[in-house]
Symmetry: C2
Subunit: 197 residues, 2 copies
Amino acid sequence: MRPYDERLEHLLARAAKVFAEKGYHSTTMRDLAAASGMSLAGMYYYVRGKEELLALVQERCFARVLAGAEQAMAVAGDPVERLQGFIRHHVTFFAANLAEMKVLSHEANSLTGERHRKVNAIKRRYVDMLERLLKDVAPEEPRAERSAAAYALFGMMNWIYNWYDPAGEIDSDRLAGLIARIFVGGFAEARSTVQGG
Amino acid sequence: MRPYDERLEHLLARAAKVFAEKGYHSTTMRDLAAASGMSLAGMYYYVRGKEELLALVQERCFARVLAGAEQAMAVAGDPVERLQGFIRHHVTFFAANLAEMKVLSHEANSLTGERHRKVNAIKRRYVDMLERLLKDVAPEEPRAERSAAAYALFGMMNWIYNWYDPAGEIDSDRLAGLIARIFVGGFAEARSTVQGG
DNA sequence: TCGAAATTCGAACAACTGTTCGAACCCCAT
DNA sequence: ATGGGGTTCGAACAGTTGTTCGAATTTCGA
């Protein structure tokens, strides 16, 4: 890896951490300079400006999420198992990349213009992926409920950045299992086994 | 109601809307002046500064949430019914006060110092309320799971501000029913009826 | 060793921010 | 009518922000 790419990577990693801690708008370019060990002006050799920094953090993180999700769903066959795989991947990836994922979740509308549209388009694809999955899991469910359920699941998973402590009592595998149990048990199975369909 | 209180109320309502649309840090006092019909300096007769505006919006909204939740849980007797009442109240209140609740959820860490501690203390009480409820609903569940499940439920409910459209296909009652079904079916009932635990 | 390209950075700028201050205005009891 | 308290606001201030620019420094193949 070229030194240039290494330094850009380093800058992005530090930026993600600071964005996650202080929030994008409260973070100054001087904060980022101090956190990355570069000078204020020096960062502009690697990046057009503050917003491109945020865009790169979000786009690169989202690309990894998408790739991992497609891989996680390719293995299993049963729709419920694929759904569980999707959930497990999203939650464990989130917990393993807390800073980046917090920036992706919490600063979703901090981008503007073309960059905002680009990230939103990726997000749309990711949501569609889950909605198609839910269609296989619960075909009899009304479309409005299925769509809302998808967002409810994303809510459970993305809210993590507000409370989850990686050093705490529950590890990300247990958390993924819990969320999968709640959603699959409540959405996919409740109709036939609990509420009597 | 005195004219003074009416104008303060009006200012807070407009501020909540603008904070929800643009985010707290991106909205300027000049934005708020334009949105409220006051002059820039005029707002400082009603409020010490920008942060007090955010604090008042959050504290007043949270007080209403707490009062409504206690009332919603006082009626029913069965733990599962009380949990359903809690969920139904939170979701319908959220949908009926989207701007304020978005500011409460999304700008949770935009306050500083004493104001930040005060709102966090209220939040702690509210989370405790749900955790006690979950203890009644699923006493055999490990404490770590129960606590994580509480946050998962708050995630489903608070994520609403990222996607819910009040003019859309699904009204807040249906949404509350769906979320209650997912959580109760997946957390409270799954152990005994689905997973056979 | 030499020189050009790549990389760094101190210093400054222009724009925007929240806040303040004093004068003006309005309302109403006297 | 009039004086005083409650209310409004134009104008300005001091601090902070993202960004730029040109010069200094480093890197490295020939």
